[in-house]
Every structure is written in structure tokens, then in C-alpha cells.
Amino acid sequence: MKLREYEGKRVFAEAGIPVPMGRVIRSVEELGDLSAFGDEVVLKAQVDVGGRGKAGGVVICPTSEARDRAAALFGITIKGLAVTEVLVEERLRIEHEYYCAVMIDRSTRQPVVLFTEAGGVEIEETARTDPDRIRRIGVLPLLTELPPFTVRDLIGREPKALGPVVSALYRAFLAKDALLAEINPLVLLEDGRVLAADAKVIVDDNALARQGIQRNRDLTEREAEAERHGFSYVELDGEIGVVGNGAGLTMATLDLIEHYDLRAANFLDVGGGADRERVAHAVRLLASSPGVRVIIVNLLGGITRCDEVARGIIDAGVAQRVIVRMAGTNEAEGRALLMEHGYEMYDSMDRAVAAAAEARR
């Protein structure tokens, strides 16, 4: 789960990384006394999407205008999201922008630390056109601190004050079970201070419980429902609802739907041991999505009991057309039950999806 900028900065501050003076407000009334900020302030909308700067989500203004500008910021939406939180920060006088990040390298199965003196908004461009400008050093996961030589190799001849920040970022990455901890830009100020001007921290979803972080704050009603039942669920914008067991099989079903020029309404993996009740919940959940015309149930596995699945589908009793493909124990009983209640069942996923495509013509 991606933390918001102010949450990420709180993580950094706890790890000993200097961050700009600032506070989060949820309404203009919370602005309070801004005299400590000096002549100018920065107002940054806290929304969970990228590209907020270009969308007008970051405002630099004289402190005297902060109230009006903050009020305006609370009134806009950025890529469809309302601005409910604004981070108010001191204006920084920047001498240079660096980039520093810790992420996970799948190929070497270990954290990798990245550093470049070419930080700022062009970092992705640099990564594409001049990747050698970004230094990358892997770290043995059994170490709990970055070795000093690694820090020296990363920052080279840049100001020594950067070193403790790099070390602290690595500690924060470990302490917070992060998949990514990124400072861009990491700034050197005109007065010689070094601080994290932005913060991007993604915490491993599998570690949220031990980190004491509440999962997914902004769920739609159906996403929350799916979460309650322990389904893996992603909303899409098509017309074919999909229930599968296993992430790979469900993705393959979605791909097949696209192959037939149809559009899937969702990804829903019911997980292992799909029983009567779970299947009924899953089918009802999809039937409640507006625009779902057809539901394809694709279940496979040695221990899935087809008669149970069939009863779940019949229990759900939804109005939409339900097309079933399943294989496993008691397949014949399952088929008989479905046929009896007027449902279609196919023995391959190709035929099941083809049947959905056929009906559209």
C-alpha cells in the first residue's frame, strides 16, 4: 500500500531523515498561525495519484495568500479524486536535487539502493536515456545496516551530509517492510542543509498487520465486500463478470475474454477451497456491479467439489446469464444440478468464453 506524502515523511522523520517543516490540514480552519513558515509557503494536495503538480495540486504562494489558495485547493478534484488533505510546508531554497531510493530486485532477490545526482522530475527520463548515471548497489538481506563502503560507493564525491540520509533511508525501508522507499528530490539547500523534499513509501500488503497499518482506506463498496470474503478483486470496466480460482487461471480467463473482443468487468479470484457459500457470495457480488451482463465462472482443481460449486451458483440465483466451466471432484453431479436449473456448463474455458461471445452476436 502506498503511503501518502505526509505519512512517508513521518516515516522518514522517525528514521532520522530531515524533512521540511510542515503540517497536514483537512480544512482551511486548521491552517492556524503560519508565521513560522516565513514569507512563502507550499501547499501540496495529498491525493493517491501521480502527476498532481501538472494538475494544479501543488501551489507556492505568499503566506498572506495561503488561506485563499488552500480554500481553492480543497475545492478541486485531481484525476477524479477530491482533495481532502493538504500538506502545508516551508518554501525551500534549493541548490541541488538528488535522487535516492531503496527497492526490491526480483532477479537477485535482494534490496537494491539507487542514487544519482541527477534527481528531480526528469528521473524517469534519465533512467531510460542514461541509466549509467544512476548508481545501483545490491545489499545482502541478512545485513540490518548499509555497510559504510556501500554508502561511499553510492554518493561518491557528493556532500558528506548525504551519507547519513542514505543510511537512514535503508533503515526505514527495513523497519517499515517497504517494497519501495524513495526520496525524489533529496535536496541540498542554499544554507547547506540536506532534506527529503518528497516521500514515496510503498508498504508490503503482507506486512500491514504487523506494521499496524489499516489496509486500503479508499475501497469501493464492492471492493470492501470482496475484502471481507477474502477474495482477490480488481474492478475493470467491461460487461463480463469473472469468477476464477487461482490468480493465473483468472488472469488467463480475462485474457481469453479480450481475445474474443469482449470486455471483462472484473478480476475475482475466490482462492482455494471454493465451497458453496463462497461461490454464492462471489456470484452475487459480481451480479451487483452495474453493467455486468454475463458472469463466467471458471473453476479448476483437484479438491474443488463441483456439486458444491453448482449449489453455490444456484443459491446465488442471479438475474444475469451465468456460464460455468469447472473440472474436479463430482463433476457429473455438478453438471446435472446446473442443467436441471437451466445453467450452461462447458468443459473448457475456450468454449465457455466462446459461448459468451456467441450470444452477443
Partner: protein
């Protein structure tokens, strides 16, 4: 056949949980059917002396190994303790640890894998269905009766999709040497590259089916590393960016790891890529 055979003795950790009990029974039913050793002991701390689906339970792998010979562990321990179970397997000299457990925090996985590597222990998974050598050995949860012995190795990041493909191969009369589910997590003990290297040394394996999905670049790295003929399938062509598609590792991030660019990269190195699972058997036949 790779990684395990009839002579592989197995310790199951997390033996007294629902999953552990159920799958000890299924693994030993299969072992009895094929004449293999199967599961010799279970481990659950604090439950030593009990019985789990017909095998004796010990408090630790160390204690189990005092009474039994074993080469491998199959791990069903809950996510918070599964990394520790991988390290326990490695520290006790088991040559193979198969981690079935899903939702292990990735920092735990990285640490456990680094430790296992120092001990020389091969890890399959986590978040995987394990492995199956038809007619010889089953370490994990794969339904064995969809498979049949033969010359094709299967390596997959998926579970049920693997069964689907194995079923298609078997129905087409194409048997499998070993089927390996390497796991759906972003960080896994054995990658396509690692498993392909084993298939390459296995005289019985003539071709490999590589089943990938969105996220990372392990598919391309694997295909580039082998001289065996490969048929690939990559799930998630229709997956939107920045959404986790069920598996922790199945996510297109920062514009990287999408299915189409993987398929392009695979095709550029001469790998045959199936556009849907049902095409795989016919494509494999052209390579045998």
C-alpha cells in the same frame, strides 16, 4: 525428472494445521501409489508426540531428523512464521525446501532465501503449489492425476493455471518430466532460470513449457539462459497497470513487467509464445 524422486524423504512443517493434515494424507496416498517414500515426519512446535495423518509429529526439524532420514521439507506454516521454517530447513541440512505458504512478508522471504543460499539449500516458492514428477514424487498440493510421465518440463508462477496446462498436455498425449510451481510472489527461491538449468541437465526433459504472468522480467531472463526448446505462455495481457492481479508479484509497475512487452521479448529471442493455454500442446509437439 528434477528436484525430487521416489527416494526423496519429506518432512512437512505446519503438519497439524488443516492444510498440513490434508496434504500429508494426499502426498502419502500418491507416494503409496507410485512406490515412493513420501512424508516421513511432521513438525509443529509444541505438538511433538502427536500423529498427523499417520506420520509422527516432532517439535522441530532437528528432532525429526534424529529419528528419520529426510531430504526435503514442504512448508505449510502460517505466513508470519514461514520464513523461519525455511531457515530451519536450511540450517538442518535439508537440500530442498518447498514453501507453499502465501502472504509471507517479502522482507522475511528475502532474509530466509539469503540464509538458505548460504546453507546450500534450494528453495521452491513461497506462494507456490510445489512440484510433481508424475509417477515418482509429489511435494506440495498439485492434483497428480491430471499429469502423466513424459518428456516435457513445466515451470509456472501459477497454481490452477498450471493444472489447466498440464491437463491439456496430458489430454493431447504429451507427458511431463517434472511440473514445478515456482510461486506467485515477487521474490522467490528458484526462478525460471534456476529451474531451467536443472531441466537442461536432465536427460529425460526434451522441451519446457514456461508459464509466466505480469510483473518483473524473470520469464525473459529464464528463456535467454537456456538452450532447451521453450513454449511460453504469459497471463495478464488484459491486466491494467498498477493493479495487483491476485498474486503479490503480478503487478505492472512503473510501466515495467506488462505481458505484451514480455511476449515481444520472448519472441525476439526465438521462443514460441502461445496466445492462449489451449494452443500449448500443439506448439509443444512441433518442438519434440
Amino acid at each position: 525428472m528434477i528436484l525430487a524422486d521416489k527416494k526423496t524423504g519429506v518432512i512437512v512443517t505446519g503438519a497439524t494445521g488443516r492444510q498440513g493434515l490434508f496434504h500429508i494424507r494426499l502426498m502419502n496416498e500418491y507416494a503409496a501409489e507410485v512406490g515412493g517414500i513420501g512424508v516421513v515426519a511432521g513438525v509443529t512446535p509444541g505438538k511433538g508426540g502427536q500423529d498427523a495423518a499417520g506420520v509422527p509429529v516432532y517439535d522441530s526439524i532437528r528432532a525429526a531428523l534424529k529419528e528419520h532420514d529426510a531430504d526435503a521439507s514442504v512448508i505449510f506454516v502460517p505466513s508470519g512464521a514461514a520464513g523461519d521454517s525455511i531457515m530451519e530447513s536450511a540450517a538442518n541440512g535439508l537440500s530442498l525446501a518447498v514453501a507453499i505458504t502465501e502472504h509471507i512478508p517479502v522482507h522475511d522471504t528475502m532474509k530466509a532465501l539469503a540464509f538458505a543460499r548460504l546453507c546450500g539449500t534450494t528453495v521452491i516458492g513461497p506462494n507456490c503449489p510445489g512440484l510433481l514428477s508424475p509417477g515418482a514424487a509429489k511435494l506440495g498440493i498439485m492434483p497428480p492425476h491430471l499429469a502423466t510421465p513424459g518428456p516435457v518440463g513445466v515451470i509456472s508462477r501459477s497454481g490452477t493455471l498450471t493444472y489447466e496446462i498440464v491437463d491439456e498436455l496430458t489430454k493431447a498425449g504429451i507427458g511431463q518430466s517434472t511440473v514445478v510451481g515456482i510461486g506467485g510472489d515477487p521474490v522467490i527461491g528458484s526462478t525460471f532460470t534456476d529451474v531451467l538449468a536443472r531441466f537442461e541437465r536432465d536427460p529425460a526433459t526434451k522441451a519446457v513449457v514456461l508459464v509466466g504472468e505480469v510483473g518483473g522480467a524473470l520469464e525473459q531472463e529464464g528463456a535467454a539462459s537456456t538452450s532447451l526448446p521453450v513454449v511460453a505462455y504469459v497471463a495478464g495481457v488484459s491486466a491494467p497497470p498498477d493493479k495487483r492481479m491476485g498474486h503479490a508479484g503480478a503487478i505492472v509497475e512503473g510501466g515495467e513487467g506488462d505481458a505484451r512487452s514480455k511476449i515481444r521479448a520472448l519472441e525476439a529471442m526465438g521462443v514460441t509464445v502461445a496466445s492462449r493455454p489451449s494452443e500449448i500442446p500443439a506448439l509443444v509437439r512441433t518442438l519434440l
